[in-house]
Amino acid sequence: MNKRFSWFNATSLTLGFAFLYLPILILIIYSFNESKLVTVWAGFSTKWYGVLLHDQAYLDAVKITLKVAVVSSTVATILGTMAAWVLVRAGRFPGRTLFSGMIYAPLVVPDVITGLSLLLLFIAMGLDRGVGTIILAHTTFSMCYVSVVVSSRLVSFDMSLEEAALDLGCSPFDAFRSVTLPIIAPAVISGWLLSFTLSLDDLVISSFASGPSATTLPMKIFSQVRLGLNPEVNALSTIMIAIVTIGVVTSSVLTKRASVRRQRQEQAALAQG
């Protein structure tokens, strides 16, 4: 036990995590409430989950949201990895400062401004607004997050490994595929996951970029929640929280196992040598 871990630390951690988790916990508990009045407990029931699963508007919104998230995060991962390579490896080229500015700016520009500017662009280009324009919008901000995550991994990557592959007769493409890509793969995967989550979560930019034909899940939730508490939204929130929790816990357990395995292999290799 660390001697600096005092009662003060224990209290602040307890209070802090209570603040973080109690609201979510209450939300989950009351999703099993029988009553239509969300804040008045009237007995245990799973009826709102049934109502939710038969609500076509929600099911359509889920379908659109997943489609947007899968396509935009995949394209964003490809573009963002390219951009990371450009930032770290491409050396000097005309307009490099503008390029890195455009990578970092979307991370700090408020959503309302990004959304407004994209909408005005889509109108100027005469594009029909819908799923396609939401995908374009999400890809744009996600690729910036991906390139930041991937470039921080590329910076710490030992160039001589790729050079060795080139010396041994690999083509530049093969060297990238068989040496660089496996090493930066964890960053590329976390970039994809981050993009996917950001896309699932986005309300403001989607609202600007979309037309009457496409409503994403956050847009649907927002239009409901604006009118006040809603038991269906509680049920939906609980499902979403459960999925995310399972995903995050599983991936952290898997990463931990992988790192333990790697340590063992390294130790075994050292023992043999």
Partner: protein, 298 residues
């Protein structure tokens, strides 16, 4: 080789130019136009067929009228000021809530730390909208907090908490807490405990040692965390529109209403340009700070 390099540079470059820079140019242009009852609802529109003369005519019709309108109508500058004020105060509150958590994490036994980290990050992966929504049920007139306070007899009639600036502060502190905790934790974790022991050996009380050694050494984390909360909080839309009610004025909400309710594109664009100009100061300061920290690390 060179063709490959050119392709790798030009594809993401072109994408960002078209979908990030050009849209800003359009916003800037429309902010200088006038509102009109037409499709699109502003004038002048740019007509390529009219050639150079058309372009000159087009330029001559642009003006700063919308911006002078922003300075004349109370609503706008009040909204800017109140956004800055709400963001600044919430940043201080987030720091006060977040620092003890980061401090507790850094002093926790090493084997707990990955789990504590995950517990701080986990809410960040769950939907932002849902985390804000959770507070509607807590703070409402018949909400859980009022029920608890009435039941324990602390109050006799329900408090008005939802649809006030107070609810907005809570919403911001709650949703942005991980952004404050993580950078502070990162600096505290690296802290050399021998320094604290030295301070105590030299006669400092534990609190003095904390105030004179720990706090100054965690300053980079405090600064980074504060920027990470302040910058997005200024332009926040979801929190004021769900928790703030009509009495809480924030510029992100004004922009949204100007565009979606009033359909006044030129004013909405001018609001956006001005908001960006205001945010450039903290953004540049933040980037300088990050660069300095990277150089120190290297």
């Amino acid at each position: 080789m060179n063709l490959r390099r050119l392709l790798l540079i030009s594809v993401p470059y072109a994408w960002l130019l078209l979908l990030f820079l050009v849209p800003f140019g359009i916003v800037l242009k429309i902010s200088l136009s006038d509102q009109a009852l037409a499709i699109p609802p502003y004038t002048p529109t740019f007509d390529l067929a009219a050639g150079w003369q058309g372009f000159v005519d087009f330029l001559s019709k642009l003006d700063f009228e919308n911006y002078s309108w922003l300075t004349q109508d109370d609503l706008y500058w009040k909204a800017y000021l109140s956004s800055l004020q709400i963001a600044a105060l919430s940043t201080v509150l987030t720091l006060l809530v977040g620092y003890p958590i980061a401090y507790g994490m850094a002093n926790a036994p090493t084997e707990w730390r990955p789990t504590l980290m995950m517990l701080v990050i986990l809410p960040f992966w769950t939907s932002f909208l849902i985390r804000v929504y959770a507070w509607i049920g807590i703070l409402g007139q018949n909400g859980y907090l009022n029920q608890l306070l009435l039941w324990t007899g602390v109050i006799d009639e329900p408090l008005v908490m939802l649809n006030t600036p107070f609810a907005v502060y809570i919403g911001i502190v709650y949703t942005y807490l991980p952004f404050m905790v993580l950078p502070i934790y990162a600096t505290l974790e690296k802290l050399d405990h021998d320094l604290l022991e030295a301070a105590e050996d030299l006669g400092c009380s534990r609190f003095q040692a904390f105030w004179l050694v720990t706090v100054p050494l965690s300053k980079p984390g405090i600064i980074a965390g504060s920027f990470l909360v302040f910058i997005p909080a200024v332009g926040e839309f979801v929190i004021p529109s769900l928790l703030g009610g009509s009495r809480t004025l924030m510029i992100g909400k004004v922009l949204w209403d100007e565009f979606f309710s009033n359909r006044d594109w030129p004013t909405a664009s001018a609001v956006a340009v001005l908001l960006l100009l205001i945010l450039i100061v903290p953004i540049v300061l933040f980037q300088r700070h990050q660069q300095k920290m990277q150089e120190l690390d290297a």
